[in-house]
Amino acid sequence: MSSPPKGGHYRSTSVVSGFSRTVPGAAYLLAPLVVVFAIFGHGFATLPNLLNIGVQSSILLLLSLPMTLVIMTEGIDLSMGAVLSLCGVVMATLLTKEKGLAAGLLAALGVGTAFGVANGVLVVGLGLPPFVATLGTLGIAQGVALVLTGGQSVVGIGDTLPALYAREPLGVPFAIWSATAAFVVFRFALTRTRFVSYASAIGGNREALVLAGVPANLYHVAVYALGGFMAGAAALLLTGRISSGHPTAAIGMEFDAVAAVIVGGTSFERGKGSLGGTLVGVLTIGVLKNGLNLLDVSSSLQVASIGVLVVVALVIDSVLKR
């Protein structure tokens, strides 16, 4: 490879780079939040608590990464929380029947991907608005989960999964390793394989992508399929954490994911997005929830605080733009 010509600076950043290119408004919130909680939150700045934040954020990150891509295509996936609950139920049920962890995981991934493909076909193939299509599959997934369980928790899943979840290689919990792996795959592998670029192009200028001879519909469906797949993967952490399956365990989590993505600087317009920003967004929400817990703020007020966070982050972004 030839060396960069003089005058031309060659930075090894890519389009969906996080910190180096677009610093999301959330980054300006995360740092002060950490400082404030470190001073006033009893036990905030301790290693166990920081690892705890990581563990609490890991499922959200697994959903927020594909949600970033979906939103970059100017879409949304409201079904993620319900699909995650359903996948957890399916996995737990198989584990109670002693079918083995691999079978349980494969089934969860299969169910999740099937819902993701269904979302994609409804949006891309039938041209339904993403909001409406995924609201429909949300209802279906939720309903199926309730029917399968009769509304009850699925307990008695054995020790294999809880034991795996409790492992802490190098002192770092399994959930954090999983979330880190997912981020690395999305931020590096998927970005290199132009999957992320095409998601941006679908939202930014679909016509240009089609004219370039790229099967845009296929990639568009794949973005939604990936969302379902990741919901299935997240079921592993969810089921491990609660040692059971519950039909409404992840209800509403899609809204936290959308919040994290938006706080991270991804926009519903023109294919603007950043996976690095989404990581910042997820951590900001994690720090906020954890810190408010330590300050004994009620969970109802925590919900409101996430709303405030989204608005403040967007205001900071729009001010920075000027």
Binding site: M1, G7, A201, A212, R270
Partner: protein, 504 residues
């Protein structure tokens, strides 16, 4: 195949015909382009330039005719076919992805390794004589730089024929000079360039040959240098100029609209004009000349930065006071002063498409019809029936959703809306776009009725024959300024074109 010089032309389009419902867009049109030439394609709006280029890039399939590249007949079924054969089109709306970087855009759909893409993109940009960091996101670039990225993208696909549609429309003089330098370099490399522009003075700067289209037919194929005056006549033709008016306004009434030195934050500068009761005044100019921007500023839809707008003696913008909004103008003040805007995009700006004809008709007049705030369904229906009858809107019932009406009848509903609002001064922005011939005459009839009853009309139109046939007077705009005024006697297609194209 070879032409008189014994050289096989790079591109030959012969006998191309293409019809759309109700229009023969191209009728036996031919175009021959040699390698290494800049071929200027000239014609009025609707002359067939865009359709011909869409055929060339595979977006339209012609009903008759053949296309030859290097003497070999080819069929272009899709834009992908055309690209593969080396035809690239750079439209005014770029086909770039805003949040991908320069290299990713250049190689969209043909990605290689990152380093390789950036090195190649950098090389291409250097041959075009620009220094753009290839890791810059495209939305951060200016228009001129985005255009260079489009050119680089075309070159990376080994384009041999480059179509440029109004490439200088959004560029500064300095940027235009650099574009021309680049075009000359491309020529030297044997690339053929089909150049579409309304700026006649650019012909002398870069054109080798000029093809003129009019009403979907070839009218001339000339070698540069050409006589510009002659070109204007070729574009206009010796058409018998019809009028749609029963009688033109001989004694206009009082001043309905008085605009002085108006400037807006959309770029309109020092515009002054008046419209009197009983007059239809045209606002002519090429696409992008600033006509819609001026109309929106007059209506208060865009912010007025200086100057004044007075309607019916009420100051809407310019001096604080009556206007309320510190003199910046607002649609609310405009409508209350009796102004009505019939917008260019009636489907997005003029109508609530899923609402009934009745709802649309009373929408702008609710305040006037029901000043106390209570809505009386029967009164609204009466008004709607009255308007439907007066404007002869063809609809089976006033309850029909507006989207189910034909274009002409939709336009009448928009006009009717302003009737109920009590408007006395109307702005029509491209009132007959997308409307069939019969309905056009009806719209002209409505306009005539309006002014004969003492209203006043400011009409924007890109169709010169319509301008000449309907207006009592016209102002001509260029580069967001009013550059001339034509009285009834001077109002002709050629005179409008001369002013609009900056060729005195």
């Amino acid at each position: 195949m070879s032409d008189v010089n014994g050289v096989t032309p790079l591109l030959e389009m012969r006998g191309i015909s293409k019809s759309f419902p109700g229009v023969r867009a191209l009728d036996d049109v031919s175009l021959t382009v040699r390698a290494g030439e800049v071929h200027f394609l000239l014609g009025q709006n609707g002359a067939g330039k865009s359709t011909l280029m869409r055929v060339l890039c595979g977006a339209h399939q012609p009903e008759a005719g053949e296309i030859r590249l290097d003497g070999e007949a080819v069929r272009l079924h899709s834009p992908a076919d055309a690209r593969r054969l080396g035809v690239a089109v750079i439209f005014q709306e770029f086909s770039l992805v805003p949040y991908l970087d320069v290299a990713q855009n250049v190689f969209l759909g043909r990605e290689t390794g990152r380093r390789c893409m950036h090195a190649e993109a950098r090389r291409l940009l250097q041959t075009l004589g620009v220094d753009i960091d290839t890791t810059t996101l495209v939305h951060e670039l200016g228009i001129a730089q985005q255009q260079v990225v489009e050119i680089a993208k075309a070159l990376s696909q080994n384009a041999r024929i480059l179509v440029m549609d109004e490439p200088t429309a959004a560029l500064s003089d300095h940027e235009i000079d650099r574009l021309f330098t680049r075009i000359r370099a491309l020529k030297a490399d044997g690339v053929a360039i089909i150049y579409i522009s309304h700026r006649l003075q650019e012909i002398a700067a870069i054109a080798d040959r000029v093809t003129v289209l009019r009403d979907g037919k070839n009218v001339a194929n000339l070698e540069n240098p050409v006589n510009l005056e002659h070109l204007v006549h070729l574009m206009v033709g010796r058409r018998v100029e019809t009028t749609y008016r029963q009688r033109f306004c001989e004694r206009p009434g009082g001043v309905m609209l008085d605009v002085r030195d108006l400037a807006s934050d959309t770029g309109v500068a020092s515009a002054s004009l008046t419209v009197r009761a009983g007059e239809v005044v045209g606002l002519a100019g090429l696409v992008g000349a600033g006509r819609t921007e001026l109309a929106r500023a007059i209506f208060g839809a865009d912010r007025v930065t200086s100057g004044s707008v007075t309607v019916n003696g009420r100051i809407l913008a310019g001096q604080a006071g009556q206007a309320g909004w510190a003199g910046r103008g607002s649609p609310v003040a405009a409508v209350r002063a009796g102004m009505g805007l019939v917008p260019e995009n009636r489907k997005t700006e003029g109508l609530a498409l899923n609402r009934s004809v009745e709802d649309n008709i009373v929408l702008a007049g609710l305040r006037r019809l029901f000043p106390k705030g209570w809505y009386f369904a029967r009164a609204a229906a009466t008004v709607a029936h009255d308007i439907v009858a007066r404007l002869r809107i063809a609809t089976p019932s006033i309850a029909r959703p507006a989207r189910l009406l034909s274009g002409g009848n939709q336009q009448k509903v928009v006009i009717g809306k302003w009737f109920t609002a009590g408007s006395r001064f109307f702005i029509f922005d491209e009132p007959t776009r997308g409307i069939d011939v019969g309905a056009k005459a009806e719209i002209y009839g409505v306009i005539e009725t309006l002014v004969s009853e003492g209203a006043a009309v400011l009409m924007i139109s890109s169709e010169l024959p319509e301008m000449v046939a309907v207006c009592d007077r016209a102002y001509v705009m260029r580069d967001k300024r009013i550059v001339g005024e034509l009285g009834r006697a001077e109002l002709s297609e050629a005179n409008i074109l001369r002013l609009a194209m900056h060729h005195e």
